[in-house]
Chain length 502, copies 2
């Protein structure tokens, strides 16, 4: 078959290969293409009158801007945004577990009951001004001879960012404080050192106040202006760090239930296959995880716009559904006052990949969350303490979104990509799932799993989901991801910059 | 004398040392302190009735919130914001040049007539997604054996940032494009490589379109998704970089007029001495530089609030004065819609250092610009092509402001600090000027010059200005700054994040 049709109510189909004008589509009673259709783009399989909805996934993905004849390429030249929605028939489902599925992984049990998938020592910075000092301490401990003293430690890593001063104490300050507090107690850290400059807006003492007692007690702190500058702080940091590394080096992996996994879900560089292959397969893997008591974190709020009805229909309560509404309302205001539009979120790469509207992107994006009950909705970087499918509010932009997910407690990230992202995160490792085989074959060294084989007919979606779940368990137990092998993640830690920079 | 009085119209004086309650001030006819006054904080030397202006530098720095008796500590408990201003008596002045002042430095003359103070090779990234690849190429070329092949090259440096996608094409996009375009043609780069991912909003092809022909022609470009991923791009980048390094290695310093210097002015971690020692001394050094045809860049627009009348009075034309008004109006809107206040800009460190209001901070801050004619007002990261004193709009936040100054063409930064900043920038080196001796003595290894000696009575402001000017000439000619010796600057490159992150 030259095309893939996702439901019998759809009036567009997806081109499996590039279709030239006049090519006949036998699966659609010999319909002839009226224009060239690039691979993975949409072709109309019924005529759609101007103003009528364009239907894919049994949902509205846009409205015809002109009369569209059957056989025409459907994209942003003839398909635009609409407010029309179709209420979903599906409610929350409980997944049936595959036989012999793993229910535990090898993790680091922390004092507070949280479990790490890695055993790093972290250096948390309250402000950009302490970033270079933190980095210098990281570099000292990255030397082979020094790192070799602590074989059970995955590394000393500086968590640096670009903010912490030049700001008022408003929404942006609170957000950054949550990020710093969340990272300071991240389960993938065996210990943390906190470093400030001294005169910044986000004061180290305020961060300490925001931490639980046990974390505060086991944290080392340094203030550059008190130490007497760059060199003195680096020297003091190197000395104090040895104790944190020694303690962390005594820890080892033990069997832990998968209910201790919190998986941050992400897509980046989406294409038209994201919603057909990688996202639904990842969603099914999340159904397995949440059935076993684990947590799936769906974020990228602007990419839920147009799919919110799917999530609200399976909220644990009206309160949870209302929280989602509140966040979407916040986003409309945030976008509006910044002169931005939520409905033209698809990036140039998304569009080239065949995604026409944010509705189409969103319907594909929400599939990552699976079909279980939406148990909670939390703010960016807010600690997640409920299991099941939780929404953590964030932009769609990958590094900013994953940073919030890690600060909220994600100890693993699953990242689907169509155009070929080379993203990586730390301290939580990031598994990259390719949506299509051509990209996978071109960028194999960056991809952890090829979901394109679902589209190729080489594996069922169900079997791919089990493969993804098993990859999660292996990576959580210590297997390195491609991005970890490349050493990516230091420059990708990016707290969401909200509010005025002064 | 226990206090310093800046003009005979002032009703407050600055405490030279911490003053205990009941201490007598002989220089004010035996006035007794009515409360403890911390060092560098203000003491009332006349009684100030509630609602009356508090005067320092012959200007309004605030309004009395209560009746203030002579001898009382004046700070944010009894002094608040006001809209009152005193029109300045001073117009633009042309500086008298000190005898035997240097009129040239040793710099790198580029093909376009611009002159570098350093000879780096740059790697410009269009998006965060290409940051790690750029860093890996930098790291390869940082190895002693590789760097050793290019003794005339100061290093290969990756210019990475956190944006480039997850955004609409609005104000924030245009700003980031200016930053990328400005850095691509920075005179401190002998050559540049441009690296993108492929699917991002800020496309490499659009950046190339924004560059002058000669820069575009001598730039190498790489797109990760075209190359086939992380490893392939790093390998291709390492190979292509050799050519850039070889070409840059053929260049050497030659005598160049100081008119080719563009100095970005900055304060960070200001205290009450900033406006008394380092800033006016730096301003006098800028008067020398601009008299010789060089350029001084004053920025930190929120810290001009309250001192705008001083600048408008010496604008080259009404158009230039209007441009400043326009930027201040933009700032009021930006702060307002983000729920921020321009008038509480002083950070905790500023306040601890004795700065009470933004007016007081601003009056001290604008002194960095000297007393010459304000020749132009440009947007953040907009290329500066006029000489003299130019305002480049930016936040006060150091790394964000300096990033814009460098993108606008600053080939050197002068940074005054009271609390003790450990800031550094690259590719433009950053000279740090301490405002007070206690901080200088504590953080000597981070400070390039101690302006505290002006306050101590060990050097005149005039002589300190000449010392600063000579330090600028030496550093422009290759002498390393303290922050360069510490290797600071990679994590401090921060384009201003304006607009919604989507
Ligand atoms: Ca994303
Ligand atoms: Ca295959
Ligand atoms: Ca060299
Ligand atoms: Ca500043
Ligand atoms: Ca001295």
């Amino acid at each position: 078959m030259l095309t893939l049709t996702l439901s019998n109510e759809d009036n567009v189909a997806v081109a499996r290969t590039a279709l030239a004008k006049d090519v006949l589509l036998p699966e659609h009673r010999g319909l002839a293409c009226r224009s060239d259709v690039p691979q993975f783009h949409k072709v109309a399989i019924k005529s759609i009158a101007k103003g009528q909805p364009v239907i894919k996934y049994r949902q509205v993905i846009g409205v015809a801007l002109t009369d569209i004849a059957a056989g025409e390429h459907v994209h942003d030249h003839n398909c635009g945004m609409t407010d029309e929605r179709i209420a979903p028939a599906t409610k929350a489902k409980t997944a049936e577990l595959p036989p012999d599925i793993e229910t535990s992984f090898e993790g680091y049990l922390r004092a507070d009951g949280e479990v790490g998938t890695r055993n790093y020592v972290g250096i948390i910075t309250t402000v950009n001004c302490s970033a270079s000092v933190a980095k210098a301490i990281e570099q000292y401990y990255s030397q082979a001879e020094v790192a070799g003293r602590y074989p059970n430690v995955d590394g000393v890593i500086a968590i640096t960012h670009g903010s912490g001063c030049g700001m008022n104490k408003g929404e942006g300050y609170e957000l950054l404080m949550r990020v710093c507090a969340g990272m300071s107690q991240h389960p993938n850290f065996g210990g943390v050192m906190l470093i400030g400059l001294g005169c910044e807006v986000l004061q180290l003492s305020a961060l300490l106040d925001a931490l639980p007692d046990d974390v505060r007690k086991r944290s080392n702190t340094l203030v550059i202006q008190e130490q007497g500058g760059t060199r003195a702080t680096i020297e003091a940091g190197i000395e104090k760090m040895a104790v944190l590394c020694e303690v962390s080096n005594t820890l080892s992996r033990t069997p832990q239930p998968v209910s201790k996994l919190r998986v941050g879900l992400q897509c980046g560089g989406s294409d038209a296959l994201s919603g057909i292959t990688a996202n639904p397969a990842l969603g099914r893997a999340m159904d397995i995880l949440t059935s076993l008591g684990g947590t799936a974190i769906l974020s990228e709020t602007p990419e839920l716009y147009g799919a919110e009805q799917m999530l609200r229909a399976r909220a644990a309560s009206d309160e949870v559904a209302d929280k989602l509404n509140d966040r979407l309302a916040w986003w409309r205001e945030y976008a509006g006052k910044n002169g931005a539009q939520l409905d033209n979120n698809p990036s140039p790469g998304n569009k080239a990949g065949g995604l026409t509207t944010i509705l189409e992107k969103s319907l594909g994006a929400q599939a990552k969350g699976g079909t279980s009950t939406m148990t909670d909705v939390v703010a960016y970087a807010q600690l997640i303490r409920k299991s099941g499918l939780v929404i953590m509010d964030s932009p769609g932009y990958d590094p900013v979104s994953v940073t919030g997910q890690m600060a909220s407690g994600a100890n693993l990230i699953c990242f689907t990509t169509g155009r070929g992202s080379v993203y990586g995160s730390r301290p939580a490792p990031s598994i990259k799932l390719a949506t299509n085989t051509p990209m996978y074959e071109k960028m194999t060294l960056d991809m952890d799993y090829n979901c394109g084989e679902i589209f190729d007919g080489e594996i069922s979606l169900e079997d791919a989901a089990v493969e993804i779940y098993r990859t999660i368990v292996r990576v959580a137990s210590g297997e390195k991801t491609k991005s970890e092998l490349h050493g990516i993640g230091a420059l990708e830690f990016l707290p969401w910059p909200v509010g005025a920079v002064l």
